[in-house]
């Protein structure tokens, strides 16, 4: 489904964020990326949907090298990859419904979307996804008045509106409290298992990793240093990934 080959990213300021990263993700997998802050996790995720442009290597998405795409074919590729963010990144002052509908922008004409005209079928679909993330009845609430966990669920519904083949999640629970974190992870698991969407998720907490991941890759200083099962991460690997002084923190 997704194959990353020798991916390189050097920022204009000279920072070498990704160094020769290669791995592939089969369809339906729940892949978790771990590593310290600044290890390149976010950059890698953003290279996959080209929010950042890689400076070298290839990313084969369904057999097409997405690093070469431009204009409308780039937008088409992005529309097949959903993304959720640490800070939710919802449209401020807009309702839950408006935010979820914005996931359908790539399939709506520019003028139609500006005038706010959506097909009834699209609105129905939006309602269905709002229902799936457990926010039924909150369609008309302003999204920025919801709690953090609820906002993240709105953003999951927005991503689902795209009918994504892959869902990228950049630290989806890093600004949530432990209880809410589990609830959001549960929804991601549900999306992965019931809708068959491949999930690539950046996480900090190893306890969450062990619970939800099918497979783990670890980055350190922009290099891929681990690729394997979550339960195989030993104390030794942990020290390698997070440094000698690191102590594991669990959330339950």
């Amino acid at each position: 489904m997704l194959e990353i080959k020798n991916l390189e990213k050097v920022y204009p300021n000279g920072h070498h964020a990704l160094k020769d990263i290669s791995f592939s993700v089969p369809k339906g997998e729940f892949l978790v990326v771990i590593g310290l802050s600044g290890s390149g996790k976010s950059t890698m995720l953003r290279c996959i949907n080209r929010l950042h442009d890689p400076t070298g290597g290839e990313i084969l998405f369904n057999g097409v090298d997405s690093t070469k795409l431009k204009g409308s074919s780039l937008r088409k590729m992005r529309s097949e990859i959903g993304m959720i963010f640490q800070h939710f990144n919802l449209i401020p002052r807009k309702t839950v419904m408006a935010n979820v509908l914005s996931g359908n922008l790539s399939r709506t004409g520019v003028l139609k979307s500006i005038l706010g005209i959506y097909d009834p079928e699209v609105v129905e679909r939006a309602k269905k996804y709002i229902d799936i993330v457990g926010l039924k009845g909150k369609e008309k609430n302003r999204a920025d008045n919801l709690s953090g966990g609820q906002q993240q669920r709105v953003s999951i519904a927005r991503a689902l509106m795209q009918n994504p083949k892959i869902l990228l999640a950049d630290e989806p629970v890093a600004s949530l409290d432990p209880a809410t974190s589990h609830s959001v992870m549960q929804y991601l698991k549900k999306v992965n298992e019931e809708l068959g969407v491949t999930v690539i998720c950046n996480l900090h907490f190893l306890s969450l990793v062990r619970q939800y991941a099918h497979r783990v890759v670890a980055l350190k200083h922009g290099k891929l240093i681990y690729d394997g099962r979550p339960l195989e991460i030993s104390e030794e690997w942990f020290k390698t990934i997070y440094g000698e002084d690191a102590v594991e923190v669990t959330i339950n």
Binding site: L51, M77, R78, S79, I81, I91, P92, R93, S106, I114
Partner: protein, 349 residues
């Protein structure tokens, strides 16, 4: 390695800057001391001669003195550009180089008083007080006979300001996006457009609306239209700047999120940028209308129509009672606009 070279080059630039600052400061001290303190205050020349050799000699003097002092702690430039080490516990204001700063400030004060011809004697002269009393008496006995005339002129002013703002809004709204660095730094052409637009805006903003009104009153004739055009132009320039600064300070998150859904760039702006800027825009725009009403009054003075025009006429005829009424009207408008705009802006928050 590159970084070290860069840091070295950087330090050299700082040294040059510091030296230039020192030389200019000393040249300024020399010139002001000679022209004001020596010529005017000490020997009181009635018609002092100006020759270009005076500033040039001062500059030579400045360079010479700063070469001497550059190696001591008396160098202001070295102090300001961080080339003199200051202890954290020690305040910079007590260092030797600060004294040069104090000297500059003291001299500038003295010159300022002299140039503005501050004179206590004139202020309290019997003749002057008599004239002031006459005008003030007339002002507090306004002629209510011209109330209607004044009111109509005031309404003209308010509408003029309103139309100037209204026309400026859509133009500034669109230009605002092109003047926002974060939206326009994508490629070279976009950045060129951004720089060109910024330059044009800065130039048109730096020319006072009063000057524009004079230009337009020749162009389209004396009257509200020329005043409106002047205000409109100034409003476009100011609003575009404020709008674009607002766009530059938005949160990138929603923009990223909408881009990630595969939306068209126009949709990204509409859904990612616009919702974040609507409220500040409204607030700026109402404030701009408020400013425009006040400016429209002043612009009337140079033939821009409205109440300012009327004020100018009566003032020219020294009819102070009529002027008094107009001043009351203007104060009422300004106060009302001020109050209304602050209430609306508060409600928008």
């Amino acid at each position: 390695m590159q970084k070290i070279i860069k840091r070295k080059a950087n330090k050299q630039v700082q040294i040059i800057k510091a030296f230039i600052l020192d030389a200019l400061s000393w040249a300024y001290i020399a010139l002001v001391s000679y022209k004001i303190i020596y010529e005017k205050i000490i020997i009181d020349v009635r018609y002092p001669e100006f020759a270009w050799k005076q500033p040039i000699y001062s500059l030579y003097f400045g360079i010479a003195v700063s070469i001497i002092f550059f190696f001591t702690n008396f160098s202001l430039g070295k102090g300001l550009f961080g080339l003199i080490k200051i202890d954290e516990n020690d305040s910079a204001t007590s260092k030797p180089f600060a004294f040069l700063g104090y000297l500059l400030i003291a001299l500038t004060f003295l010159t300022g008083f002299y140039v503005s011809q501050v004179s206590i004697k004139e202020f309290f002269s019997a003749n002057g007080l008599e004239g002031a009393k006459r005008i003030f008496t007339a002002l507090i006995h306004p002629n209510w006979g011209i109330f209607e005339q004044g009111l109509f002129a005031a309404i003209e002013t308010i509408y003029m300001a309103f139309i100037a703002t209204a026309i400026a809004i859509p133009i500034a709204f669109i230009l605002g996006f092109f003047a926002a660095r974060n939206l326009m730094s994508g490629n070279k052409f976009a950045f060129f457009c951004y720089s060109a637009l910024r330059a044009v805006l800065n130039i048109s903003r730096s020319i006072e609306p009063l000057v524009w009104a004079i230009i337009f009153s020749v162009w389209v004739g004396i009257g509200p239209f020329s005043g409106m055009l002047a205000l409109c132009l100034h409003s476009i320039a100011s609003l575009t700047k404020q709008y674009s600064e607002q766009i530059e300070s938005i949160n990138d998150g929603p923009v990223e999120a909408i881009t990630a859904t595969g939306a068209h760039p126009i949709q990204v702006v509409w859904f990612g940028v616009v919702p974040q800027i609507v409220l500040p825009y409204l607030s700026y725009t109402i404030y701009r209308w408020d400013i425009n009403v006040r400016m429209a009054t002043v612009i009337g003075l140079v033939g821009g129509g409205g109440i300012g025009n009327l004020l100018m006429q009566y003032q020219g005829q020294a009819r102070w009672s009529e002027v008094g009424l107009l001043v009351i009207l203007i104060a009422a408008i300004v106060w009302t606009m001020d109050w209304a705009s602050s209430v609306i802006r508060e409600a928008l928050k």
